[in-house]
């Protein structure tokens, strides 16, 4: 059997690349691997595919500092060499932050990620004091139920997203910018999509950007942050 080397790769997705769907990014990355001339392990079968798997998909329009993928190579390359090769070849808007060599095959990213942190950059268009804003978020946090309308193939249905909201922090920049960071659950029960959360904000809270900041795994033995 060939010697397979496992790597976990953290990358960011910024700027115009945020308009690219998860599936399209996956295709862009598999092409990047070919451009980077990395010794990728391929699946067997009629249409060999690179042995590559991704973490939780990122909703369209959202940027990220914490995207993850697992890659298998047939040669033992240094983390730095892989980072360099990928960053030379990635399309604009995608950039590798860190490559970590895994000592063994670990459970998939989709299975191990348990929560995700999103940062909202919000512009407040009415005159409000910071403590008023804090109180508003506190009130939201204290609600037992937060109903949003979810659009599915079979129509619209109301869902309570409160159970998926794990934590939050609030900070302020200048007079009118709020940095709101929320931690949401990700798992078999479901998750809270940040774009769904927007509908709960008042009209005069204008969301400028949403950035995925971090992902966490559930198991203790894994480092706390995935990676």
């Amino acid at each position: 059997m060939r010697n397979i080397n496992y790597y976990r790769i953290q990358y960011r997705k910024t700027g115009l690349a945020r308009f690219t769907s998860h599936l399209d990014v996956a295709r862009a990355i598999s092409r990047t691997l070919r451009r980077a001339e990395l010794p990728v392990a391929f699946s067997c079968g009629f249409n060999p595919m690179p042995r590559l798997s991704f973490g939780p998909p990122l909703p369209l329009g959202i940027e990220s500092e914490a995207e993850f993928m697992d890659l298998e190579l047939t040669q033992n390359l240094s983390e730095q060499a892989i980072t360099l090769a990928l960053n030379r070849s990635l399309p604009p808007g995608l950039e590798v932050i860190q490559v970590t060599k895994l000592t063994k095959k670990v459970s998939s990213l989709m299975a191990s990620v348990d929560s995700i942190v999103y940062q909202f950059i919000i512009k407040v268009t009415v005159d409000k004091r910071n403590d008023q804003i804090e109180a508003w978020f506190k009130h939201l946090w204290d609600s037992k139920e937060l109903m949003i309308v979810k659009r599915t193939k079979s129509g619209e249905k109301p869902v309570n997203i409160r159970p998926f909201w794990r934590d939050y922090t609030l900070s302020f920049i200048g007079d009118d910018i709020i940095l709101f960071e929320m931690k949401v659950e990700f798992g078999p029960r479901g998750t809270l999509r940040p774009d769904n959360f927007i509908s709960l904000l008042p009209q005069d809270f204008q969301v400028q950007r949403i950035i995925r900041k971090a992902m966490y795994s559930r198991t203790e033995e894994c480092c706390e942050k995935v990676l």
Partner: protein
């Protein structure tokens, strides 16, 4: 990037259609070039991005020092609404400049039912549609592609058209425009200068006169415009232009692979086929050039598939050898080689196995007509035995699903020929079931039928198209006879073919129809779910023209055709003789080797000859 545009993109379903930023695009400093061109494909990104010709021009222009080229595609309805709401002009993908800010706006005319999109894109960019309403501040509007061989329905809107192959001519055009601008010439003066570029057609230099019944009586050139404009052609295609790099899209276009053009032209001489007539003669690219260029193109793009494109790639000299070499060379990187289509008479299971993804997928063959008689009429001289033999070897090689493509409404067609379609499909099905005896239920035959639309510059350009009623009757007939387990039938929307037929052989008076249809709300007419037959009919009523005049009317040989002053180099005498031979069911042979010239006129007229350098390495 301009954040107004980002804001808009956040609101639309597929922002990747407009965001640009694809790998290997060229973004030049706007102020530092002499001329700016925006190349437009009048359909959605997914369709337009896949078009090889426009990309070729894009790279060709950007490889020059002085000119820049950007791209734009037709915005979907949601984007159109956002643009109108925000009062923003339709913009280019690369630098988000409004189309009106460019010096040249070039549209590719690939199919008639994209014409309303062209007008809509101009309108969305705030550019007056009519040529005479556009002052000095607006870009020159130029058209190219197969539609420019009869662009008359668009004649009121465009400044110029280029007939034929563009990669050399576009640079000549840009040079003339730059020189004119440097000398401070007006648009009118520059257009006058453009008469000197061969292949360029300026509709304003031709007046069209009509008979009371609507037929054209004369097309008169204003001096110094020539009587006839001949198409441009690349004489030396052996090592014809190939870009150094290729674009890689973010979102998935319909053809998502590296495309390399193997050869140009096809002289098999199918009498219904416009491409076969207007792109003559056959010219092959050197296989050594292809082998030399490909590795760098794959390194630069990372595509997992290379498609060897042309009108008929299996005809390329030494195709098996080339595919073999390329497969060997690229398979280790997980890159496969494909051909866009396979011809029945050049099919071999070995060849097909290399091209087609997997035997599970379906294989498409195009007999075009249901009987040997009708195939003789259209000069697609395939015997039934040949077809069945090919299909048999495909089944034996493992394929279970076949798609058979036919046309209805071909000249001289009778119900017997329709019956022939059903018979052939059933024979194919039986054959498949026999070969895959253990899993006969898996064998599927899909019969796909489109309606024949007579095209300018073909032997059938004088022939009537079948009427809507007749189309529906024939489709119904086929629905009755193509029945049973394992068989399915799909057809092309009859009303769309009617409209295609109108514009295919249309004249300048149809400009009004296009404008009216656009006002009524027609766009994306090539999309079955967007096509509005009712609105088109209304447009004809408002303007006072009859569609039947254009599509279902037979023309006499002596009638002045609206495209009489435009030439692909193929003589009218040849087309007429071919139309006669069709009636007599006489074959005309392929002239690709140049040994059996059928005297179509292209070679002597344009000073060119077929070149089959292809895979022959000496």
């Amino acid at each position: 990037m301009n954040s107004i545009y980002e804001k808009i993109m956040e609101k639309v379903e597929k922002p990747g259609r407009y965001s640009g930023g694809e790998l290997n695009i060229t973004v030049k400093p706007w102020e530092e070039v002499k001329l700016r061109v925006v190349l437009a494909f009048p359909d959605l990104y997914e369709i337009g991005f896949s078009h090889l010709g426009l990309r070729l021009l894009y790279h060709r222009i950007n490889e020059t020092r002085d000119y820049l080229a950007e791209r734009v595609y037709a915005p979907a309805k949601d984007m159109e609404e956002e643009l109108r709401k925000a009062k923003l002009p339709l913009f280019s993908l690369e630098t988000k400049h409004g189309l009106g800010e460019f010096d040249l706006l070039g549209f590719t005319l690939q199919y008639e039912l994209s014409y309303t999109n062209i007008l809509n894109m101009m309108s969305l960019a705030g550019i007056p549609l009519k040529r005479e309403e556009r002052g000095e501040e607006y870009p020159l509007i130029i058209g190219g592609g197969p539609g420019s061989f009869n662009p008359e329905p668009l004649a009121d809107f465009f400044d110029l058209f280029l007939l034929g192959e563009g990669e050399e001519a576009i640079i000549e055009i840009l040079n003339v425009v730059t020189e004119g601008k440097n000398k401070g010439k007006t648009k009118t003066e520059i257009k006058h200068d453009l008469l000197s570029v061969s292949g360029v057609y300026l509709p304003e230099y031709y007046t069209v006169e009509y008979l009371p019944d609507g037929r054209v009586s004369a097309i008169k050139p204003l001096p110094p415009a020539p009587e006839v404009i001949y198409k441009r052609i690349i004489k030396d295609f052996k090592d014809g232009y190939l870009p150094e790099k290729e674009l890689v899209p973010w979102i998935e276009p319909i053809h998502d692979r590296l495309m390399i053009e193997l050869l140009r032209g096809c002289t098999r001489g199918c009498r219904f086929c416009q491409a076969g007539m207007i792109y003559r003669p056959v010219r092959e690219r050197d296989s050594s050039t292809i082998k030399k260029k490909l590795p760098a193109l794959i390194r630069g793009t990372g595509y997992e598939e290379i498609s060897l494109t042309s009108l008929s790639s299996a005809d390329y000299t030494g195709i098996e050898k080339l595919v073999g070499t390329l497969s060997d060379c690229f398979s280790t990187q997980g890159v496969k080689i494909s051909l866009p289509s396979l011809r029945i008479d050049s099919f071999s299971p070995e060849l097909a196995a290399t091209f087609q993804a997997k035997p599970k997928s379906s294989l498409t063959f195009a007999p075009e007509a249901g009987t040997e008689r009708l195939r003789r009429v259209i000069n697609k001289n395939l015997s039934e035995a040949q077809i069945l033999e090919t299909v048999q070897s495909a089944f034996q090689a493992g394929w279970q699903r076949m798609k058979l493509y036919f046309m209805i409404g071909l000249p001289t067609e009778t119900d017997q020929d329709l019956e022939g379609i059903a018979q052939l499909a059933k024979k194919v099905l039986q054959l498949g079931r026999k070969i895959h005896a253990s899993k006969a239920g898996h064998v599927k035959v899909v019969v796909s039928v489109s309606t024949f639309v007579p095209k300018p510059h073909t032997p059938f350009q004088w022939r009537p198209q079948i009427s809507l009623e007749e189309t529906l009757r024939k489709q119904d007939y086929l629905k009755q006879v193509i029945r049973g387990k394992g068989l399915s039938f799909s057809w092309h929307e009859a009303t769309m073919s009617q409209m295609e037929g109108v514009f295919s052989r249309g004249d300048r008076r149809l400009g009004k129809i296009l404008e009216t249809a656009l006002e009524l709300g027609c766009t994306f007419d090539a999309w079955g779910d967007k096509f509005r037959w009712d609105l088109w009919q209304e447009a004809f009523k408002i303007v006072g023209l009859k569609p039947e005049f254009y599509n279902t009317r037979a023309r006499a040989y002596k009638e002045v055709l609206p495209w009489q002053h435009l030439s692909a180099g193929v003589s009218k005498e040849f087309l007429r003789a071919e139309d006669q031979r069709a009636e007599e069911e006489k074959p005309t042979f392929d002239c690709r080797t140049g040994k059996e010239c059928s005297a179509c006129g292209v070679c002597p007229t344009l000073g060119i000859k077929p070149t089959l350098s292809g895979g022959e390495e000496h």
